[in-house]
Amino acid sequence: MALLEVKNLGISFGGLRAVNEFCIKIEKGQLYGLIGPNGAGKTTIFNMLTGVYKPTDGIITLDGQNITGKKTIEINKAGIARTFQNIRLFKDLTVLDNVKVGLHNNYKYSTVEGILRLPAYRRTEKVMNERAMELLEVFGIAEEAEQLAANLPYGKQRKLEIARALATDPKLLLLDEPAAGMNPNETLELMETIRFVRDNFDMTILLIEHDMKLVSGICEELTVLNFGQVLAQGETSEVLNNPEVIKAYLGE
């Protein structure tokens, strides 16, 4: 059974049909790409998958569980974590605390235990710190742990966002244009990181990207979206050679 199965997903904003009859099937462990011209509805689909928008019709199933129209928090608990096209970090918190917010629902103690500094607080905080540092080390930002997130350079902010998403221990990771604003070297490094995350965290990843080098380099399957409709779907090399895709997206 597929990890994520989306059937006939659609959403209308007033009279505008932003996404129509969108279907996708992602197997566990896959690296899946979602591409399409600007305004095709890619981020709208992410927003529906994570409960920011409620779909007008269609069904989303994650690991056999129907999550259609649920709240963002419930969907995160069910196992979907995401990053954002325009980076959304907790900029006045330290890098370490950003990841620890991600760990919020996995390591618990009550507010009273926190205020009174009871043993549960010390124990859990210690484990949280260790876990968060582990994640930061994976992304090579452990040295900046005590800095404010706002002071990180752009590339590292992107990485921190992925680290924070992984801290919630998701089954499926959604990356919204992870390479946006990166130079070719940073993009290459990011490709390594994404592969590393998939292999070492046993993660399934769905990503939106415009950088064709990244897409053809790491995605195993692709869905191409145009005007809210699926234009092509299948293995990366096949899809990228599809004449219609070339016409609509890559240019004739």
């Binding site: 920011v52 959304r88 907790f90 919020h104 924070r164 919630t168």
Partner: protein
């Protein structure tokens, strides 16, 4: 010093804050006991604690949660009247003064907290500045209701009226506790500097420990980016209401301290009105968002200045305003900040240490 180095940065900062409060207590208490403190300053000690607690508690809403509240004096008012009411009712029943005072604090915190939750539930679900509008209205409404409220006690129980004391229909032995615009009179003046400082420390411990815990991080993540906080599974409404309720109940504590420092408690615009709420907000802004030590310092300085400037008479408020502007620039202007960092005392000490090490 080794002990200081082993703590992490935030813990060390918090310890400095506590130490400053304790040091201030020792200094003022010594001056007061040895008779070197003017009666004016003597009378200011408890209000200083009250305003510091109010500033720290409001900073939890404004600086940590990132929501604007313009009715903090309203929660203080609830705490003041509920605790003074309790004290007046149980004057003859609970004879142990300290015990009764402790229960009064508890009641003040709980009542103010309940109102915080009641206001928070509908308003904090919304995005935007609705909280500011609603709390502004709340503060005024509470003050006006209490001004018009008559409550009496006789052997048949409590009597309540919003008209006048006659309509309470009490028996001859009855006693009016809240007398409309005259408020509650005859409250025992139990507040003193020591209790005030203990409460301030308690408030600081609660707020600072909260900020460095799981819930505090959740609250601050909502302030920094609501959408991202939701995406990592933070329950926005729950943590917003939690922060606001804690902030309100701490204001209630301050209210209790305030009420038991006066023999007659009335709800005037001066003490519980809009101006008071704004004043507390000024302490918070001047002290810095989410900077609790700053809030305490701002509250102390801004409460003392007008009193110390009394001698120059009519120019008092003018100088006060100038000092406020200068403080604001000195604290927060980027250029002054760079200058301060370049000439900081810390550097002087540090350089000397380096030299000695060589």
């Amino acid at each position: 010093m080794k002990f200081m180095k082993n703590m992490n940065k935030t813990t060390r900062q918090n310890m400095i804050t506590y130490a400053m409060v304790i040091l201030a207590y020792i200094i003022f208490q010594t001056l007061s006991v040895t008779g070197n403190l003017s009666s004016l300053m003597q009378g200011l000690l408890v209000p200083l604690c009250t305003y510091s607690i109010l500033a720290v508690s409001l900073n939890l809403t404004v600086g940590v949660l990132g929501e604007l509240s313009l009715g903090h004096a309203g929660f203080m008012c609830i705490g003041a009247f509920s605790s003074a009411f309790f004290t007046a009712c149980t004057k003859d029943i609970i004879t142990n003064d300290l015990l009764r005072f402790m229960i009064a604090f508890l009641i003040a915190a709980v009542c103010a907290g309940i109102f915080g939750i009641l206001i928070g539930i509908p308003v904090l679900r919304l995005q935007g500045d609705y909280l500011a509008i609603v709390t502004l209205a709340f503060g005024e409404i509470i003050k006006n209701i209490i001004n018009a409220m008559y409550v009496g006690l006789d052997e048949n129980g409590f009597h309540f009226s919003l008209k006048d004391s006659m309509s309470l229909n009490m028996t001859e032995n009855g006693r009016i506790i809240i007398k409309g615009a005259q408020g509650i009179t005859g409250t025992a003046r139990q507040s003193n500097f020591t209790i005030g400082i203990i409460l301030l420390l308690l408030t600081l411990v609660i707020v600072l420990n909260l900020m460095n815990s799981r819930s505090g991080r959740a609250i601050m993540s909502i302030r920094d980016n609501r959408i991202a906080a939701e995406s990592v599974g933070i329950d926005i409404t729950k943590y917003k209401i939690m922060a606001f309720a804690i902030s309100a109940s701490l204001a209630g504590l301050a209210g209790c301290l305030y009420a038991h420092n006066l023999s007659s408690l009335t709800a005037l615009p001066k003490n519980f009105g809009y101006n008071m709420s704004i004043m507390i907000l000024v302490y918070v802004v001047l002290g810095g968002m989410a900077n609790m030590r700053g809030s305490v310092i701002a509250a102390v300085v801004l409460t003392m200045i007008p009193e110390l400037l009394r001698e120059i008479g009519e120019y008092r408020m003018l100088i006060y305003a100038v000092i406020m502007i200068v403080m604001m620039i000195f604290n927060w202007s980027p250029k002054v900040k760079t200058w301060r960092e370049a000439h900081s005392l810390k550097d002087v000490f540090h350089k000397r240490n380096v030299k000695e090490a060589k």
